[in-house]
Symmetry: C2
Subunit: 424 residues, 2 copies
């Protein structure tokens, strides 16, 4: 850890007093010991390893709860941003291991300083917490075209702004952002605690732009998980990329050497879409209509015309009436790799309910998250086709959108989120 | 079950077609078999008994997740309202036992009707689901003074509108309501599924007014539960009324014969307050200040001046400086029964995070819920005192409020939510 690091810097920026800075060497040693811990996340309360070639929280078997946040960077100083990323990395290593962000008593032992941890997760297990970071296009060049941090020439071509899709009803205030953090855990209190403490640490350098809570069961990311159901009541993610598909992950998920700037090798791109579902209308649609729209049966999740959930779709099959068994405008056909030149995504979405909408309806839907090697060849063409033709669109509205470059994993105790991006 | 009952009535009101009504006798038998099941909710995935002297979900050990909803009744017909309450009761008995609200395929086998269950909880265990109903003041007499359902003369005096409290910043659109339903479960998908299916069944008779999701750990309601922490990071509910305090529950929680109209005997009153917490400001407050505001230590939760969480508060103690050890304006002193003529509440609140507030802050706080025998002698005087003097107010804002009369439990398979209220 470099000499500029100080766990308390951001707090002192907040005007909370003159609490003493931790000597950089001390903090480094503290972190190294922690990061070297052997961590296993097999049981629900356990810890997921933080260090690795790739960031955790992507192929990690999808935890049940989400707190997603996007920050805007409010400082224009590159050194402050780098300091924050170092500090966040340390905190993320501690939090994912089930430790607090820092002592609940002040570092220097004085009760006259704010605690270094907000306390609401005291006594709770690690709960499978993962923290995954991504950098939005505006971090590289802001809305005014400024290269605030001297990294515009390192912006990956794959991080090109998403096009407008037919039907988009996006609220810019709840999309985009300079930096995103995805917190997933089996306990929402643990996920919320982690995001809140990162926000607290970032006070004075970043401002929370938007945030979304979600609960599980919209995509499994491992063959060990049962396929969950979305709020349309259908199994979702049957054909998702899974952690066990090593070759497919190389092809469709992880940025490979030569794909673009070297700092992204081993990383991936995240697209988020907050998709409001008109569930009240859906619930008054006949079962036959629902199944025709999805292209699968509601009970077992089998493709229409097949019996088992994991049976291969037969996109060519026609019925006795000469019509396609899986309708031309069904969601499963339009989203299928065979309809999209083989393009696949690792989806990791969550259901959400944001209260009601003031019109007597639940503000419910899917917070779609998809990781991929290059959105220009994956999400963009798939969504272009879905936005034009998907029969499900009648029941959906895309209300927010985000795109982020997620760097590779933190590999050593000296590494930090985005180090290669900021190395000179 | 009376001959007027039909599980599909509300769906046909929705214009979904002419699906055949279930014969009342058949539905009654189906429900009776279900309600007679022995149910035990000891394990996390298990079922909590629906039938009982009191409604479940009050002294039931607090589950970790909440979906709370308030409906306005849109029909003016008493018979429609009574039908709905019958239908909801049946559905609640099924849902809390871990069954679907109805077949996912149509009742009469036709795929041309909407499913009788929305499907997203298929395959999930009962998850400790409880459904608890309450009736707001406006059910008895609406804002225009109308007695729509002929029950104005049965309105309990204890259901008097709450007064305005100092500092209240209430949004009427997200408070109040004619009927509330509290869904608590260990799995949010199960709680959301239950509320959504009640809303679906109620289509045409009720409209969702507001709704709130919450996650756990703000009050334990049983001595078997560890005291959880709120989003200020402090243990909350140490001195809460607990399920084991049978005599105290009679005194402070359950409406006794002679308290008011007979239909409420065995019931209780629920006050909800959505309390936004200024957590970013709190997080920049010193530990000493936080502990002085709460009146307890942050680490162990012990009262100031004591060592253990469950040590009795010494409200009279003074320190070497002659000042009160537990400050005069501390939350724990002002909320303590000794400061409020012995008044106690059974609190059952949940933490919430509704995204961010557009000002760079989390939209976070406490969804306070307190059950009690008479709000006029319990919540109202306690909150009047807190609103005037509590040092914590600087970090709080009450943004919504609700008051509901929760009838006693459903005791037999012929009973239904509010039967005694509507019996002639």
């Amino acid at each position: 850890m470099a000499g500029r690091f100080s766990r308390r810097r951001m707090l002192t920026v907040g005007g909370a007093g003159v609490a003493g800075a931790v000597a950089a060497g001390g903090a480094g040693a503290w972190a190294r010991g922690l990061m070297a811990e052997e961590q296993h996340g097999s049981e629900a309360g356990g810890a997921v390893a933080f260090l690795g070639e790739h960031q955790a929280g992507i192929t990690t078997p999808a935890q049940d709860r989400l707190h997603f946040v996007a920050f805007d960077v409010t400082t224009d100083k590159r050194a402050d941003l780098v300091d924050l990323l170092r500090e966040w990395t340390l905190a993320a290593a501690r939090l994912t291991a089930g430790h607090d962000a820092g002592p609940v008593g002040a570092v220097n032992g004085s009760p006259e300083a704010p605690p270094d941890d907000t306390g609401e997760a005291l006594g709770l297990p690690p709960s499978g917490l993962t923290l995954t970071v991504g950098f939005g296009p505006t971090l590289f060049r802001d809305a005014g075209g400024r290269d605030r941090f001297g990294i515009a020439d390192r912006k990956p071509a794959a991080l090109a702004d998403l096009p407008h899709f037919r039907g988009d009803a996006l609220d810019p205030a709840t999309g985009g952002g300079d930096i995103c953090v995805q917190a997933c855990a089996h306990d929402p209190q643990v996920a919320v605690h982690a995001i809140r403490n990162l926000a607290r640490i970032g006070f004075g350098a970043v401002s929370m732009r938007w945030s979304q809570l979600g609960f599980g069961r919209t995509s499994s990311t491992s063959r060990a998980q049962a396929t969950p159901r979305n709020l349309f009541g259908f199994k979702d993610g049957t054909a998702n990329l899974k952690a066990e598909d090593t070759a497919a992950l190389r092809q469709h998920l992880w940025v490979q050497a030569g794909d673009g700037p070297a700092w992204m090798t081993g990383g991936t791109y995240l697209v988020t879409r907050k998709i409001r579902m008109m569930i009240e209308t859906w619930d008054r649609t006949s079962l036959a209509e629902q199944e025709a729209i999805v292209g699968r049966t509601k009970g077992t999740g089998a493709p229409l015309g097949k019996r088992g959930e994991f049976d291969e779709l037969n996109l060519a099959a026609t019925g006795a009436d000469g019509k396609q068994v899986i309708p031309a405008d069904s969601h499963v056909r339009l989203a299928h790799p065979d309809t999209n030149g083989g393009a696949r995504l690792l989806r990791r979405g969550y259901n959400f309910v944001d209260g009601s909408d003031g019109l007597g309806r639940l503000g419910a839907g899917l917070f779609f998250m998809a990781y991929q090697r290059d959105p220009r060849r994956q999400f963009v063409p798939i969504q272009t086709s879905l936005a034009r033709n998907d029969a499900m669109n009648e029941y959906l509205r895309h209300v927010s959108s985000g795109l982020y470059a997620c760097p590779p994993g933190v590999r050593t105790a000296d590494d930090f989120w985005g180090r290669a991006l900021f190395s000179s």
